[in-house]
Symmetry: C3
Amino acid sequence: MIETPSLVDQYCHGVLRTELGLGTFEAQLARTEGPPAPGTTLFDTQTGFAVRRWCPPLLGLEPHCTPARYLARRRELGPLEAGRRLLRGSGITTYLVDTGLPGDDLTGPAEMAADARADAHETVRLELLAEQVADTSGTVESFLANLAEAVHTAAAHAVAFTSVAGVRHGLALAPEPPGPGEVRGAAGRWLAARRVGDELADPVLLRHLLWSAVASGLPLQLHAGLGEPGLRIDRTDPVLLTGFVRATAGLGTDLVLLHGYPYHRHAAHLAGVFPHVYVDSGAALVRTGARAATVLAEILELAPFGKILFSSGARGLPELHVVGARLFRDALGRVLGSWVAEGAWSLADAQRVAGMVAAENARRVYGLK
Amino acid sequence: MIETPSLVDQYCHGVLRTELGLGTFEAQLARTEGPPAPGTTLFDTQTGFAVRRWCPPLLGLEPHCTPARYLARRRELGPLEAGRRLLRGSGITTYLVDTGLPGDDLTGPAEMAADARADAHETVRLELLAEQVADTSGTVESFLANLAEAVHTAAAHAVAFTSVAGVRHGLALAPEPPGPGEVRGAAGRWLAARRVGDELADPVLLRHLLWSAVASGLPLQLHAGLGEPGLRIDRTDPVLLTGFVRATAGLGTDLVLLHGYPYHRHAAHLAGVFPHVYVDSGAALVRTGARAATVLAEILELAPFGKILFSSGARGLPELHVVGARLFRDALGRVLGSWVAEGAWSLADAQRVAGMVAAENARRVYGLK
Amino acid sequence: MIETPSLVDQYCHGVLRTELGLGTFEAQLARTEGPPAPGTTLFDTQTGFAVRRWCPPLLGLEPHCTPARYLARRRELGPLEAGRRLLRGSGITTYLVDTGLPGDDLTGPAEMAADARADAHETVRLELLAEQVADTSGTVESFLANLAEAVHTAAAHAVAFTSVAGVRHGLALAPEPPGPGEVRGAAGRWLAARRVGDELADPVLLRHLLWSAVASGLPLQLHAGLGEPGLRIDRTDPVLLTGFVRATAGLGTDLVLLHGYPYHRHAAHLAGVFPHVYVDSGAALVRTGARAATVLAEILELAPFGKILFSSGARGLPELHVVGARLFRDALGRVLGSWVAEGAWSLADAQRVAGMVAAENARRVYGLK
């Protein structure tokens, strides 16, 4: 038996505070372009089945009960109580919470910590930071100065920056930092054209944000692979980051490649080659459910064991934090356990690697106590 | 035990009516550029081994008997009787038959239905339809008018259209419909240069065919992944279809991505994101044989279970229909069975999903009774 | 039990003759861009764990002993004696040794044969050959004439040529042979700019080397997939070779795609389609360790069984030859054994295929006795 007594979820969001009906709950189970096809439901997915496996027992029901029964029980408890039972039952001891989705529908780190009786820290999303600064800056000069100040301030309290440049524009960005004139020009055009609420997708400004984060020294998380549903997924292949990775080598800032799937073997390769690159082993598991052990094993092919970090990638539903954690623990135990059973690994090594991937690597990279 | 009492083969061809020697039979086992290398045989492939596993018992022989022995028995029975025994032993209850290979070497839907004692329906290949219309049309105007008429007529009796644009040109086609002037120009150039029998590979005309099919409302099958042997396989990566998929969203026409392998995870992703996209789970199994369970499981990662369709992809040899069906049933039973055994899925869910993938999804998409 | 009584390692290098400390040994376990990240070690990789599994028993220690204990024992024996015990314990009966790394730190074929009590043959690396010729040629004309002579001479004693064009430039090379004027121009520019020791990366000259090798009739090994650590790995995807493969079809020269991972399914596809293409099944196993059986099984999906060749890909450490051979044997036995247990393959077929992949295919392709 491989044990993982503590789990650091190195990338997730908060949970919705509102009561959810069958349809609104279902819509949180996947990222799609439109409602389910006639005759189909998003409950009939690996994520849906995993939720039905792991969550009902935490609310006093049988595993695999129907969605309707589960949601009735969830409403009976209320979203706050259901959320607490789920988060506290997930086994996650520390949450790194990306607060970068606009609006305040989702709980933040403090509320997550209280609900889950766990530690929680903030991860700052660069693009939202820039959008917020743009909303309150009148000129290009004030925008850029305020942005620099905002990154500096965020670096003082956050544990990491995160970037969705890959899902806004694709990862085929020029690897070097843009020059100051280039940044001013791009900022001027973007500010002139934008309306409040517009998303930042300008490649020069996205690169400026990446390099501002690199300069801060805080670990930088980069979304790769599964991201915006309608985007061409090959535009988020982490191999496209190779130039940026080379350009940032030796600067003292760690890069963490999130998600990765279906290019997780490519992400693992980069983590194997470059000392400052780490790879996320968790978020893809929530999407692949019963296949989580295989997907995790594919990451464990090339990535050094000191370079792999767990996350749930959960957003909106505390059920997804539960599923992320349970699938990861189960997958890790089964994969490493089978290698021990075959004699490929010693039990002591397997225990040690499990502890590293579950929590210790993240504690070291993010400087957590 | 996961049961699949009925099987709808949503994509296959008919079978050869002629007697086959060892060499001509072997040549049907794979799609290659040239004869086997000296010292090798196409029987030494996953497909060859799968044929030797599943087919000899249907003709009264031991599994894994030698190719020579199997073919002697096949000749003894004659191609018609052997074909009947094989097709009737496949477990397939409905065949959707692509009639789009030129010549009349292969049996059509009516003959397949009689030989197999099963239902059979026609799938019309767009490119052959256009080539046939070109053979009998004198001018650009008559070609385009006759083509529109032919698509309309086909839509009235066929259950689907199928396109090999991906293997003729690659899937990196401009996503929007070509304008009328563009189509006329391309048709003029193609008709002027072509000789009877020439294949259609002009990208404007291929797109015109795709959009004509979309306008018909019939499901449209798109070849992706494994296709023409000598083509660069990355040109058939289904991610290249993302733009076309977005452009056809909400129009009421379903798209079915055939084959997919080795990009089947990409195809499954599209089926997960877009309501009108479906993914084929069968044809790759015939090529990967003993690995079929893993390939199927990779499709089951991201594709919603209501969006996956079985096919054999068989062509020429009734052995390939048998192998497609048996490998699929065996793989589905083992994959879902292992998830039930691990507690990841309930048995009831596994049974329900098996029925959906084996037949019900196809019945709904193609409007079969 | 699937037996592989003899093993032909169709691609490896020699071993270091010098004593190695913990750090210098560790550095040989992976190809990286820089030292391990703080808090991590390259022993915590699949390769590191595989070395600790398979090698200590050959030096009289327990499997999975600590790196420090293993290296102390290695030093006690001395590099020569340790190397002999390891190579003789690997089970490899024939080594094809790429002598194309500059300097003479590594043992050559004769020394390998003596140390291992095995057969050994030379594989000549085209790029080093050209660099050596350039070092001693004064003019473009003499360079090209001497190069032609050197290729001719090498073809008389070597068993294969090997090219690292993929890791020097990427595999997206123009498929046709460059014209004589183009070659002369490129040679002139390269010779004028180069200093002794400079590596050849000019695409015209790389192509000229490839076509010189093709003309010799000797099998040509092409590096694909995992190669230079810092290179964008998608630039070595073997699909990029499709044009070159088509251009060389029917000329009588075999192409062997080395490594392949993470694009090994693409390499296997090419081996399935083109009679003159073969695929390497070994080198990726050393990098993926406990996952070797799965990686091997992925190659066994599309590649005909007569087209798959074993190698260790080892370099520098005799431990890597051991690990390559043991992982391969173990993986092959488990993969084929599981197919026999499921009834998918007959035992006789499995034995036969194991012998082909382990040794017979290589003996046929390279004309070994």
